[in-house]
């Protein structure tokens, strides 16, 4: 078990990033034109990286599976983006944002990375405003802020309930400008199928054109994966239907370490599941917890009546309502971090207090906020979210409380990266949700947008340049003639033939649903040694079954959606096992990883800092072989490690 080198720069925490930038190597403008960079994924991290690197003069090739880079799932982020501007004068600072993020992550994130994130957060807001992102404003014309879970200050900038959309369209506009100028070659409806390695470095990728089925390889001096998270391993999640873990898994099989795969975030405010034909879950923004109060009945008989549809929420008087978050966590109330809120909802529902026909829902009630602020203010703040809720459920949240339940939302785990966002493969970088770096065991609300854009606009343009400083002399390789490229293409073709040739009987979705069920039941909100061992065994069996019995109609040439899905599910079937293994080895509870064996008497997560204060990074050892664990110890020098406490104000 080797220790990993995170390459954290010398100096005081506050000076590390400045020192890095001041002493790094640069590439001169004439040489930048000789260097190719591939960016896979065009969400916040990918689009911002591709645009910024192209602006600097590098030749960029960008890839996405959607029909346009504007559709990446960052677009669905609703609530906002954090920054330490301290415009509201409520005591915020770079240090406080850093502190909240580390604490929110339950002390499992790397100090230096998180500090840098907090440091560049302010630049992001400046950049987005300059691009014309229409953030919410006060009547005086200055930017508005709101509060979010896990923080005692208002540091979240927002554009109605569509912040992700507006930030992504900002990055997309910058990317579009560079495409128009000929500095970025854009490949949409194209899926990355593998990496190309030459002499131990990543030198390109193999892709499949989703419309023609053509397999092609592309050279670059370095490759950036900004391919998002792997929440869809659970089948039902708030991710887009196409979101997948395949790029990360292909990199993992080529030697990139996969860090903390078990750190998965379950978001407390999603619309509850309504049937087994359901294809995805819909998130209701965490910002709703600013004004909505979460409750279940105090009396079990009321809950039972709700479950049978005999009464509605409005029949239950205030004194019979259990505002369990306010009761358990008086200091943070409804604004506790996501992992805490999710577990508390599960605890109430498991105890029989669920409020819908499945017993798996709690109320999120705006009655009190409407009484306090008026309907108009609530409509202004959350109108589009209320509309979305009503369209999906046919209930009017202005009149009856919303029903919510936790769902898989975000993956803190991802490809292991060092301070420079380089994976363990030289020349391969990972950014945004695809890497593991900043959120530890739990991500705070409004921090994903911040991290994606930080990585793309303000970190990679520096660190990638450091890597490339001695690469301008490497001549561009011709994939059509290069042995390694030809071999990588052939491997992909063989993989596709293998999938097509199974010719079994069960559809890809059907197998994916079964995987999701194993994951949710055994690797979900409450994990045990037993459930994880069950999961590992059942996933292995399901994987064997997949390779014997999956049915993919049509041919490998041309558009074949079932083949696309089969490729992704084949990877999920290995990733699911890796998640369970990581969860099994981590004999503690922290953030989103909750082991029922490790909890306090009050039911809170019980960390084991003595044995587990490290990043667990897994090295692939072959199909059906046990992966090898590598550790990166986390040393907290600038923050006092303590048990997270959202109960007391001091």
């Amino acid at each position: 078990m080797a220790q990993l080198d995170s390459k954290i720069p010398e100096g005081d925490l506050k000076d590390k990033w400045t020192n890095y930038k001041e002493h790094q190597h640069l590439v001169n403008p004439a040489n930048k034109r000789k260097i190719d960079i591939i960016v896979v994924g065009t969400g916040l991290a990918g689009a911002s990286a591709a645009a910024s690197l192209a602006e600097m003069g590098f030749k960029v090739k960008a890839f996405c599976y959607q029909d346009s880079p504007r559709r990446a799932h960052s677009i669905a982020a609703q609530g906002g983006i954090n920054a330490a501007k301290n415009y509201p004068n409520d005591g915020d600072s770079v240090y406080r944002l850093f502190y909240d993020t580390i604490k929110g992550g339950d002390y499992r994130a790397r100090e230096a990375n998180v500090y840098r994130l907090a440091e560049v957060s302010n630049l992001i807001i400046d950049q987005c405003v300059a691009q014309g992102v229409p953030f919410a404003r006060e009547y005086g014309g200055l930017l508005a802020n709101r509060s979010f879970g896990g923080a005692l200050v208002s540091r979240t900038f927002y554009a109605r309930g569509q912040t992700g959309q507006q930030l992504l369209l900002g990055a997309y506009s910058a990317l579009s400008r560079q495409i128009g100028l000929g500095n970025v070659e854009m490949h949409s409806r194209t899926e990355m199928m593998d990496l190309v390695m030459v002499d131990g470095r990543c030198r390109g990728i193999v892709t499949r054109d989703l419309l023609t089925g053509e397999i092609k390889s592309h050279f670059a001096h370095c490759v950036i994966l900004a391919t998002g998270g792997y929440g869809n391993v659970f089948f039902l999640s708030t991710n887009a239907m196409g979101s997948n873990g395949s790029a990360a898994m292909k990199a993992y099989r080529k030697g990139a370490y996969f860090a903390n795969p078990c750190m998965v975030q379950i978001h407390p405010t999603c619309i509850p599941q309504h049937g087994n034909y359901q294809s995805k879950l819909t998130l209701m923004s965490e910002s709703l917890r600013n004004d909505g109060r979460i409750w279940v009945p105090k009396k079990k008989e009321d809950a039972e009546k709700l479950q049978k549809g005999l009464i509605t929420a409005n029949d239950i008087p205030d004194e019979d309502r259990d505002f369990y978050l306010e009761r358990r966590y008086p200091a943070f109330g409804n604004l506790v971090p996501r992992d805490v809120a999710s577990r508390a909802a599960k605890e109430r529902c498991d105890a029989g207090f669920g409020v819908n026909n499945t017993g798996l829902a709690v109320f999120l009630d705006f009655k009190y906020a409407i009484q306090r602020l008026g309907k108009d203010v609530i409509e202004q703040r959350y109108g589009n979210l209320f509309q979305m809720y009503q369209k999906i459920t046919n209930d009017n949240p202005y009149e009856t409380p919303m029903m919510i339940y936790p769902a898989i939302h975000y993956t803190m785990g991802g490809l292991w990266v060092d301070y420079e966002l380089s994976t363990s493969i030289p020349g391969l970088f990972a950014a945004g949700e695809a890497n593991f770096s900043d959120h530890g065991a739990n991500r705070l609300g409004a921090s994903a947008l911040m991290q994606g854009l930080a990585d793309g606009y303000f970190v990679l343009p520096y660190t990638v340049q450091e890597y490339l400083a001695d690469q301008f002399n490497v001549p561009r390789m011709n994939p059509a003639e290069h042995e390694e490229f030809k071999k990588a293409e052939q491997d992909v073709k063989d993989w596709i033939d293998k999938l097509m040739n199974v010719k079994g009987k069960e559809s890809v979705d059907s197998i994916h649903k079964r995987l999701g069920h194993i994951m949710w039941e055994n690797v979900g909100m409450g994990r045990t040694k037993e459930s994880l061992e069950t999961a590992i065994k059942e996933i292995k069996e399901l994987r064997e079954e997949f390779w014997k019995n999956v049915f993919i109609p049509g041919s490998k040439d041309g558009l074949n959606v079932e083949l696309e899905k089969a490729n992704r599910v084949a990877d999920f079937l290995e990733l699911g096992e890796l998640i369970a293994r990581d969860a099994l080895h981590r004999e503690e509870s922290c953030g989103g990883h909750f082991r029922l064996e490790h909890q306090t008497e009050e039911g809170e997560a019980k960390r084991d800092d003595e044995h587990f204060m490290y990043v667990g990074a897994w090295e692939y050892k072959g199909y059906n072989q046990d992966p090898e664990l590598h550790k990166e110890d986390l040393n907290y020098q600038y923050i006092k490690v303590q048990q997270r406490n959202y109960k007391a104000g001091k």
Partner: protein, 256 residues
């Protein structure tokens, strides 16, 4: 939520077309026991699962979709003659089956517009919208070196109006609905958003001219103010933005 739940048996007339060049036709399929709680695309998933299990020669129906929460703009179906189906202010993925009755026949077609060639079945090529954006749908600033976010105060009313325009998801319903196949609502949403804000005002006229030129080049029709686009826009983008686009476009041409 489940109290009003019912089951529907439906007849679907679905446009099937193997590729851009092939001749398309409607095929009729029956689906049973569809819950009124299901979304329209979940109904399509059920249909596809059925077609896969039956191993029909034409295979499952190809259609675009991704986020399934009404924001990515990828889903794009003409349902019973309306873009995004028989409900207002939503995308196809937000349409739910409670809008239909047991025994209904539902006709499902792709976007039909000169600017959006059919790829397969219900899937169309909307890269034209990307090309229009590349022609000018941005503020020409690069990363870094920009002023503090609060350096320019912007009135809340203006910021809100810019946000109304910026809500466009680029789905293409406007051009698909327009009898002229015009993309003016899409183009105007971006031109208007950026012309309203001081950051974007600097190059507003130039932007309008470049984007309109590209739109014309790509074969989209002219706007005759029928207002159909506004009605079918899932994000309620107003045609008042077209008026602002026209002003900016006129300014640019007067300057020339």
């Amino acid at each position: 939520m489940a109290e009003g739940h019912k089951s529907l048996n439906l007849t679907l007339r679905v446009w099937r077309q193997a590729n851009r060049q092939a001749k398309g036709e409607f095929k009729v399929y029956n689906v049973k026991d569809i819950s009124t709680e299901a979304s329209f695309l979940e109904m399509m998933d059920i249909l596809n699962e059925q077609l896969i299990n039956e191993q029909v020669p034409e295979g499952p129906v190809a259609f675009d979709h991704d986020c399934r929460e009404g924001i990515c703009g990828m889903c794009s179906l003409f349902i019973n003659g309306r873009a995004h189906g028989p409900d207002d202010d939503i995308t196809t993925c937000q349409l739910h089956m409670r809008k239909f009755n047991d025994g209904d026949t539902i006709t499902i077609e792709p976007w039909r517009s000169g600017g959006f060639p059919i790829i397969k079945d219900l899937m169309v090529d909307r890269t034209a919208y990307d090309k229009i954006m590349q022609a000018g749908g941005f503020v020409s600033v690069s990363t870094g070196g920009v002023p503090d976010a609060n350096a320019i105060p912007i009135s809340k009313v203006i910021a809100d109006e810019a946000m109304d325009a910026a809500a466009c998801i680029g789905c293409g319903a406007c051009a698909a609905t327009c009898k002229n196949g015009s993309a003016m609502l899409f183009v105007s949403a971006k031109v208007s958003q950026l012309a309203l804000l001081p950051q974007g005002k600097v190059e507003a006229a130039k932007r309008a001219k470049a984007m309109v030129k590209k739109m014309d080049e790509l074969g989209f029709g002219n706007c005759t103010n029928t207002g159909a686009c506004e009605l079918e826009c899932p994000k309620s983008v107003s045609i008042s933005h077209i008026a602002r686009l026209n002003r900016e476009f006129l300014k640019a041409n007067i300057k020339d």
